[in-house]
Amino acid sequence: MSAQVSTPNDTNIEVTSRRGRPSKSPTRMAFERFMVNKAAIISTVVLLLIVIMSIAAPLITHVSPTHQFLSSTDTPPGPGHVLGTDQSGFDLFSRDVYGGRVDLLIGFVDTVIVMTIAMVLGGLAGYYGGWIDSLVMRVCDFMFNFPFLLLIIVLSAIFNTTSVWLLILVIGLTGWPGMTRLVRSLFLNLRESEFVLASRMSGAGAFRIIFRHMVPNVMGVMVVQATFAVAGFIAAEAALAVIGFGVKPPTPSWGDVLSNSLGYFTLATEPYAWVPPAALITITILCINFIGDGLRDAFDPSFEA
């Protein structure tokens, strides 16, 4: 049993190289399965383009998204303003291009916040069970019933700010219970499995069992869920903006541009105002969901590429 490294010339060696090819890591196999999924690849490219557009916004338009052109409000598309201006004099094209920054920031940062809370609380509840489990689950029930509209107003008053980070904080603080329940149920299942028993028998502590044995096992599911969460938070930003609780002007966001064009006349006569932000939100969410779907297939070992 000396041949740990397989070479093509070796004929009587380990099981892994019997098929005549080097063994692949699970991550590499998942990556290869992902790469044959056409919808997921196209979505990745489109999403990357949108991300690049948002980051490189100053290179695409010279017009400031926060400057109010007070002498030319509500203008149709023309040479100075590619998509015209809204009733406050903001340049629409510039706000569409820059708006992605806020939406993507909310999507990614809130996913990190929610995933961290869910892994810690859900992991503790699922691993230890008992009163910790009951406590965490009751807090989840509590949060499910929490009126987050009120929370936004209160926090914006306490911190005396209407910045994007406040919205990120509120969405993050109210968005974790669903994910926590999922992590808990995954950990509850894993806790009873043989490999956890084996590592406990060989004297591993709780910390080691959770982080070295259980977390890597739920990672695949969590990555997929995190992808869907990014899409969900981007939708949440726009939804809040539609009812007037979103990012406040002059900060540009897709939800803000959309909600400013929802008046009857704007909707009826100025499609150039509301179609671009609506399309950007929809395309971004669609791409992220296709990627999530591709990742789910890729991480599923029963799926044949």
Binding site: R138, D141, F142, F144, N145, F146, P147, L149, L150, L151, I153, V154, A157, I158, A231, A235, A238, A239, L240, V242, I243, G244, L258, L262, Y264, L267, A268, W274, A278, I281, T282, I285, L286, N289, F290, D293
Partner: protein, 319 residues
Amino acid sequence: MGTYITRRLLGMIPMLFFITVAVFLMMHAAPGNAFNSIMNPAIKDPQALIASLEAQNFLNKPLWWQYFHWIGLFVTGNWGFSFAQHAPVIDLVGPAIQNTLILSVMAEIITLAIGIPLGVLQSRKPYSGFDYTTSVVSFILFSVPYFIFAILLIYLFAIHLRIFPAQGAVGTGPNAGSLLDHIYHALLPALSISLVSLAFYSRNTRGSMLEVSRKDYVRTAYAKGLMEGKVFSKHVLRNALIPLITFFGLDIGNLVGGAVILEGLFSYQGMGLLTISAVNNRDYNVIMATTIIFAVAVLLGNLLADILYAVVDPRIRYN
């Protein structure tokens, strides 16, 4: 089962207590109150008027006193008076719940009536052209946020074709307030909710049907010579619907509070719109009432989901 339900119902009381305390404290932490915005130039001394109105409504008492005063009245059925709309809270909540229920029950009916049959049809011939097309379409529908659908529906049916109203829950004229008028107004918002959630239901129905039809007992049923239709209806369909019952129970919890965004978008006078305006106006009694109603609905919905689960699946017992 009886003891289980009683225990769950009693368990709601501390939960409701914590929720109301938290909301009460947050509400008072928000700046200003409903009277601060009095700016009528005809009033000589607005500060004195605000002070007397605050005293009338006990806003100058300590917070804990106000909370227990409010909860004492609330449990006896006196839900207080709306500061912003100058009407008893009960009179505001009643029609709002009615409107919201019309909207969400319609949405639920459309969702179930299309989503489940669609999923069943897809699973009858998996990986066929029909299955593939409808799966992709429902995946796309599932990804589009419902307020985008709502905007598109308003643009198409209300602004261009002018056959449905763009906002409101009731119209004007002789038929205003009739059931038909309500349904007419609720159709567009209900459709926008349904398009998203019927995709969710059809996806889950399809997956669940395919999973059950691979089970050993289905093969046994075929092996003993049962007709295709009988295997399908008695063995596959009934078992495949079990996981969907849970979603249905959770939907019931959301019937009252699930459409806040759409109600805001359509200016549909339901619980969501009532809550949005109450939060904006610091209308304390209305905020407390809607919060409690939302919470009770969600908690009862969760309980109903668990009970339904035990009813349809005899393996589950609560003791």
